[in-house]
C-alpha cells in the first residue's frame, strides 16, 4: 500500500480512530466503489464497511462523499439500485453493477494498475551514477 503515501497531502486525525489514514486520490473512490459493488449486490453502509476492512483501515473512506458518489454513479448508469431486505429484515437500498459499470471498472482498474506500476518503477529507481 506504499503508493498511497505518495498522494498524501495531509493526515487528518479524528477522535475515534487513532490509526494514520490517507485521503483517497481524486477519482479513486469511484473505482473502489465499483470494485466493491462488483463482488455482489450491496448497500451503502456495507460498502463503507468493506472498504475500510479491506484496506485495513488505512484508507479513509469519506462517508460524506460516499453517498453523492453512489448517486452520481447511479445517475451515470454505472450502478443500478433496488430496495431489498437485509438479513436483519430491514429495508435498504442495494446497489449492483450494470454492464456499463463493469466495462468502466475493467477500464479504470487497468489504467490504475498501469499508473501504479509506473510510479513504483520510478520510486525503485537507484540514484544516478551510484550503483
Amino acid at each position: 500500500m506504499h503508493f498511497y503515501t505518495l498522494f498524501d497531502r495531509y493526515v487528518e486525525e479524528r477522535g475515534v480512530t487513532i490509526t494514520e489514514k490517507s485521503d483517497l486520490p481524486q477519482g479513486t473512490l469511484d473505482l473502489l466503489i465499483l470494485k466493491v459493488v462488483a463482488l455482489g449486490s450491496v448497500h451503502g453502509y456495507a460498502i463503507a464497511q468493506r472498504l475500510q476492512q479491506v484496506s485495513r483501515d488505512v484508507v479513509q473512506v469519506p462517508q460524506g462523499s460516499l453517498y453523492p458518489a453512489l448517486h452520481r454513479l447511479e445517475n451515470r448508469g454505472l450502478l443500478a439500485a433496488d430496495w431489498n431486505e437485509t438479513e436483519t429484515g430491514r429495508e435498504a437500498k442495494f446497489y449492483r453493477l450494470t454492464r456499463k459499470g463493469r466495462a468502466q471498472l475493467d477500464a479504470e482498474a487497468a489504467s490504475w494498475k498501469r499508473l501504479a506500476e509506473a510510479v513504483g518503477l520510478i520510486l525503485r529507481m537507484a540514484p544516478e551514477g551510484a550503483e
Binding site: H43, G44, G64, S65, Y67, A69, K93
Partner: protein
C-alpha cells in the same frame, strides 16, 4: 428512471434519500453499540462520521443532475411569491415592459412582413429578375427593361432558366356590370408556372396561345371573378370584352395572388399584343422578365449563360444590341424606399424599450439594495454567489417574459390599426401579421431585457464583507448603488432627449413644409383619369376630336370652371423624363440634361393657376403642322438660358425620346413661347432634393400620331371647380360616362396632403414615442429619487435636528436630481445630434436640428424632470427629526 421521471418523482426521491441515510446512521450506530459504546454516544459518532446530513443530501441532489431544474422551479416559485407580495411594483414593472416589448413587436412585425419575409411564391429563393444592361450609361443609368424580341431569344436559348415576361396593361371591361377600368398584365404563358402558382379554377395559357394569330384568352383574378361572375364556376368559357377585344375566360387565379406587389384583375397573353412597337429591339415598350433557376443551377451559372447569349445577340443585331447584355439578380419584393423608414422606426421603438428596461432595472435595483441584508444572510447560511445571481436573474426574466407575453398580446391587437394608420398603402401589407419570427423576436427581446434589467441587482449579490453588510443594517447605501442609480437616470433622460428632439425636428419640418408654396393653387381642383372607349382609340384621327368633345361636355357640368387634359399630374405618382439639347447637335448626347415633360391642353394653366411669368401659354393654333412649341418653367429657363430671355429661343428634343416624332436620329427643334412658375412636382418635401426639377409643357395637339393612342391612355382630366371638387364627380361621370370610364379620382388637395403624409405619420409616431419616453423617464427619476431620499431619512433627520430649514433639505434633494438630469441632457444632446443626421438622411425635406429645436424641447424635459423630483424633495423636507432618529 430517466432524468424527467426523476424530476417528477422528486418527492419519492427525497424520501428514499432520507431513508438511505437513516439506514446508514442506524447501522453505524448499532455497530458501535455492539462494540460497547453507549447508544447516545454511538449515534453522535455516526453522525459525525457521515458529516452534516443536509450537506450530504445537497451533494446527492447535485449528483442527480436535475439540480438546475429543481433550482429553477424553486426560484420561479420564490419570484412569484416576491412579486405577489409587492403588487404595486409588479404591475408597474409589467406594464412598462409590456409597453416596451409591445411597441417593439409591432414595429418588428411590420419590418418582418414588409422587408424580411420571402416572396409568397413557391421556393422564392430560386427566382431571379432579369434586366438588360448596357456597357455605357447615360443620364437614366445603364439598366433597362427587356425588349420583347430579346426576351424571346433569351427564353429560347437559355438552358439554366425558365423565363417568363410580363408588362402592365389595363383598360375598360364592359358588359353587364357597366364599364369599369381594371388593372391587368400581359404575360407569357410561363409566368404562372415560373412563380409556382396553380390556378384553382380553369387552366393557364398554353404556349401556342401566346401568339398574335391565336384566339384571345384571359385569366381573371379571384376578385374580378367574385365581382363580375359572383364566383360562378360557369365563368370559365364565357367571353369578356376588355380594352375593346373579346376574350374567352379560361382560368381564375388564387385569392390574394399578386404580381410585383400589385393587385391585378386580368391576365392576357403578351404574345397577343398587336402593337408593332413591341416587336422592336429599340424604342420598345419595356417588359419585365423573371425566371426560375433550373434545379441544381447556380445563379452564377445562369449569369454566365446570359452573358453568352448577350454576346451572340450583339453580333446578330449590332444596331440595337451592341454593348447590351443581360443580368440576373435574385427576385426581391418591391417595397420602394420604405425600408429605411421602417428601420428608423424600429430604432426609435428600441429606444423606448431601452428606457422601459432602464426604468424597471432601477426599480429592481432599489429593491435589491433594500434586500441586501436578506441576501447577505443567505450567503452566511451557505448560499453560493452564483446561486443568488441566478435567482435574481430568474426573477427579472420571469418579469420580462410575462411582460413580453402581455406585449405580444398588445402587438396582436395593435398591428392592424397600425397598418391602417400607415400613410398611403404599406407595401406587402397583407404579409404583416404575427408569425413565428415575431414570436421568436418578442421572446428574445423579453429575455434580453430580462437579463438587462436583472443584471445590475444580480451583480450586487454580496460576496464578501458580509459582516459589514449585516451590521450596517438596511440603511447603508454603498456609493456603488448611488452611482448605478444615477447612471440609470442619466441614460433615461438622454434617451428621452433623443426622441424629443427628433419629434421636435419633425414637427418644425412639417410646419415649414406646410407653408411652402407648391407653385399652383391646389384648392378646388379635381383630377380623374379617363379611359377612352377602345373604339375611339383604334382610330388615331378620331382621338383629338374625341378629347375636345369630352372637354366641352365636361365644361357644361354645373360647378365646373375650367377643364384641361394633363398626362402627368404634379405630386401624383408617375412622370415623364425627357432629355433636351440646347443646340441642334450635342457632343455627348447621353449626358444631355433631363426635364419633366408634361403634355397638356391650353386651359391647363387656368385650371392649376400656375403663374405665367413671360410670353404666352398654348392656344388652339398650336397644333400639328405649325411650329412645335413648349412652355418652360423658371428652373429650366435658368438652367438652359441663364440670364437671357428664353422666349423665342429654341430647344431640341432628341427624337429617340421626343413626343413630336418617332424617328431615332437627330432632334426635333421646339420654340420656347413662354415661361411659367416652377411647380413642386415631387411634393412639398421632396422637390428640393429631387434630381430632375426642370419642367416643360408641350401641347397634346402636337404629339405625333403613332404615340397619340398611348398618350391618350395616360391622360387625366383636371377640373377647376367653383364648388367642393368631389361634388362634381357624379355629374361628370354622367356627362362623360357611357363607354368611357372615370377612375383614379383624387383632388389636388389630397395629393398635396399626401405628399406630407409620411412626415406627418413620422411626427405622430415620434411624438408618441417621445411622450412615452418622457413619461417613463419621469417615473424613473421619481422612483430613484424617492428611493435615494428614503435611504437618507435618518441623515435628513439629523440635519433638520441640527437646524437645517425645509427649503435647504428640498434644495439638497433637488440638486441631486438636477445633477443627474443635466448630465442626461448633455449625453442626450450628443445622441440627438447623431439621430438628427440620420433623420435628415432618411426623411425628405428634413431640416437640420437648430438651436431653437433644443431650446424648445430641453426646458420641457427639465420642467417635467424637476416636477418628478419635487415630490420626493418635498417629502424629505417634511421629515420629522424625532421619528427619523428613532428609526436608527
Amino acid at each position: 428512471m430517466n432524468r424527467w421521471q426523476r424530476l417528477w418523482h422528486r418527492k419519492q426521491m427525497e424520501e428514499q434519500l432520507e431513508k438511505e441515510l437513516r439506514f446508514h446512521l442506524e447501522q453505524h450506530a448499532s455497530g458501535l453499540i455492539a462494540r460497547g459504546c453507549n447508544p447516545a454516544e454511538a449515534r453522535r459518532l455516526a453522525r459525525l462520521e457521515l458529516g452534516g446530513p443536509e450537506q450530504v443530501k445537497e451533494q446527492c441532489r447535485d449528483a442527480r443532475g436535475t439540480r438546475w431544474l429543481d433550482d429553477l422551479l424553486q426560484d420561479i416559485r420564490y419570484a412569484v411569491r416576491m412579486l405577489a407580495k409587492n403588487p404595486g411594483f409588479a404591475i408597474v414593472a409589467l406594464l412598462t415592459l409590456a409597453l416596451g416589448t409591445g411597441v417593439t413587436a409591432v414595429m418588428f412585425t411590420v419590418v418582418n412582413g414588409v422587408l424580411l419575409k420571402p416572396l409568397p411564391y413557391y421556393q422564392p429563393n430560386r427566382l431571379v429578375a432579369l434586366q438588360e444592361k448596357t456597357e455605357s450609361s447615360n443620364q437614366f443609368g445603364n439598366l433597362w427593361a427587356f425588349a420583347y424580341p430579346n426576351y424571346l431569344d433569351c427564353e429560347k436559348e437559355s438552358q439554366s432558366l425558365t423565363m417568363a415576361a410580363w408588362r402592365y396593361s389595363g383598360g375598360i371591361i364592359s358588359g353587364s356590370g357597366g364599364a369599369e377600368y381594371i388593372d391587368g398584365i400581359q404575360m407569357s404563358s410561363q409566368l404562372f408556372s415560373v412563380l409556382g402558382v396553380t390556378l384553382p379554377l380553369g387552366r393557364a395559357f398554353r404556349t401556342e396561345e401566346d401568339h398574335l394569330a391565336s384566339v384571345p384568352v384571359a385569366v381573371i383574378s379571384y376578385g374580378l371573378w367574385q365581382r363580375r361572375f359572383a364566383g360562378n364556376p360557369a365563368a370559365i368559357g364565357t367571353s369578356l370584352v376588355f380594352d375593346g377585344r373579346s376574350y374567352t375566360v379560361i382560368g381564375v387565379t388564387p385569392a390574394g395572388f399578386r404580381v410585383n406587389e400589385n393587385d391585378v384583375d386580368i391576365f392576357t397573353p403578351l404574345g397577343q399584343d398587336p402593337s408593332p412597337a413591341l416587336q422592336n429591339r429599340d424604342r420598345h415598350p419595356g417588359i419585365s422578365v423573371m425566371a426560375r433557376l433550373h434545379p441544381g443551377v447556380t445563379l452564377l451559372q445562369a449569369r454566365t449563360e446570359l452573358a453568352l447569349i448577350g454576346r451572340r445577340l450583339a453580333q446578330q443585331y449590332p444596331q440595337s444590341n451592341t454593348g447590351r447584355g443581360f443580368i440576373a439578380d435574385p427576385l426581391r419584393p418591391e417595397v420602394g424606399d420604405i425600408g429605411a423608414i421602417l428601420w428608423l422606426l424600429l430604432g426609435a421603438v428600441s429606444l423606448v424599450l431601452l428606457i422601459a428596461c432602464v426604468n424597471v432595472a432601477s426599480l429592481l435595483l432599489a429593491r435589491a439594495v433594500s434586500r441586501e441584508r436578506e441576501l447577505a444572510m443567505r450567503v452566511a447560511l451557505g448560499a453560493g454567489r452564483g446561486r443568488l445571481v441566478r435567482q435574481c436573474l430568474t426573477e427579472s426574466a420571469l418579469l420580462a417574459l410575462v411582460g413580453g407575453g402581455l406585449g405580444i398580446l398588445l402587438a396582436a391587437n395593435g398591428i392592424r390599426p397600425f397598418v391602417a394608420l400607415w400613410p398611403g398603402t404599406l407595401p406587402r401589407a397583407e404579409e404583416v401579421h404575427l408569425d413565428w419570427r415575431v414570436m421568436l423576436f418578442a421572446i428574445a427581446i423579453s429575455l434580453g431585457s430580462g437579463i438587462l434589467v436583472g443584471l445590475a441587482p444580480a451583480l450586487r449579490a454580496p460576496s464578501r464583507d458580509l459582516d459589514r453588510t449585516l451590521r450596517a443594517g438596511g440603511r447603508a447605501i454603498a456609493g456603488n448603488s448611488r452611482r448605478l442609480h444615477s447612471a440609470f437616470v442619466i441614460s433615461e433622460v438622454a434617451l428621452a432627449v433623443v426622441l424629443l428632439v427628433a419629434a421636435a425636428m419633425l414637427g418644425r419640418t412639417l410646419l415649414q413644409l406646410s407653408s411652402v408654396n407648391p407653385g399652383l393653387q391646389y384648392h378646388n381642383v379635381l383630377i380623374t383619369r379617363v379611359a377612352m372607349s377602345p373604339a375611339t382609340l383604334a382610330d388615331t384621327g378620331q382621338i383629338l376630336p374625341a378629347w375636345k368633345n369630352a372637354l366641352e361636355r365636361a365644361r357644361l357640368v354645373p360647378g365646373v370652371e375650367s377643364v384641361a387634359l394633363v398626362d402627368t399630374v404634379p405630386l401624383r405618382e408617375g412622370n415623364n423624363q425627357i432629355a433636351y439639347w440646347t443646340a441642334p447637335t450635342m457632343a455627348s448626347p447621353t449626358q444631355a440634361p433631363i426635364a419633366l415633360a408634361t403634355s397638356v391642353t391650353p386651359d391647363y394653366l387656368d385650371v392649376m393657376r400656375i403663374p405665367l411669368l413671360k410670353g404666352r401659354f398654348f392656344d388652339d393654333h398650336d397644333r400639328k403642322g405649325n411650329d412645335l412649341v413648349v412652355v418652360i418653367d423658371d428652373v429650366l429657363a435658368k438652367q438652359a438660358f441663364g440670364a437671357h430671355d428664353p422666349v423665342g429661343q429654341r430647344l431640341w428634343i432628341p427624337t429617340s425620346n421626343s413626343p413630336f416624332s418617332s424617328g431615332s436620329e437627330g432632334a426635333d427643334p421646339v420654340r420656347v413661347v413662354g415661361v411659367v412658375g416652377h411647380v413642386r412636382y415631387w411634393g412639398l418635401a421632396g422637390d428640393d432634393q429631387a434630381q430632375v426639377r426642370a419642367q416643360f409643357y408641350y401641347p397634346l395637339a402636337q404629339v405625333t400620331e403613332p404615340l397619340l393612342r398611348r398618350w391618350s391612355e395616360l391622360m387625366s382630366v383636371a377640373v377647376r371647380t367653383a364648388v367642393a371638387p368631389l361634388k362634381v364627380v357624379e355629374p361628370l361621370r354622367k356627362e362623360l360616362g357611357g363607354d368611357q370610364a372615370l377612375y383614379g379620382i383624387q383632388t389636388m388637395e389630397q395629393l398635396v396632403g399626401d405628399s406630407l403624409a409620411r412626415q406627418r405619420f413620422l411626427l405622430l409616431l415620434f411624438g408618441i414615442f417621445a411622450g412615452l419616453a418622457l413619461l417613463l423617464a419621469c417615473i424613473g427619476i421619481y422612483g430613484v429619487l424617492a428611493y435615494l431620499t428614503s435611504q437618507r431619512v435618518p441623515e435628513i433627520g439629523v440635519r433638520i435636528a441640527l437646524g437645517a430649514r425645509p427649503a435647504d433639505v428640498m434644495w439638497m434633494v433637488l440638486r441631486q436630481g438636477l445633477g443627474m438630469i443635466l448630465a442626461g441632457i448633455g449625453a442626450g444632446v450628443i445622441g440627438a445630434w447623431v439621430a438628427g443626421r440620420v433623420l435628415q438622411h432618411l426623411v425628405e425635406g428634413m431640416r437640420p436640428a437648430e438651436l431653437s429645436t433644443f431650446a424648445i424641447t430641453i426646458p420641457v424635459l427639465i420642467a417635467a424632470a424637476l416636477f418628478a423630483s419635487f415630490v420626493p424633495a418635498r417629502r424629505a423636507s417634511r421629515v420629522d427629526p424625532m421619528t427619523a432618529l428613532r428609526q436608527e
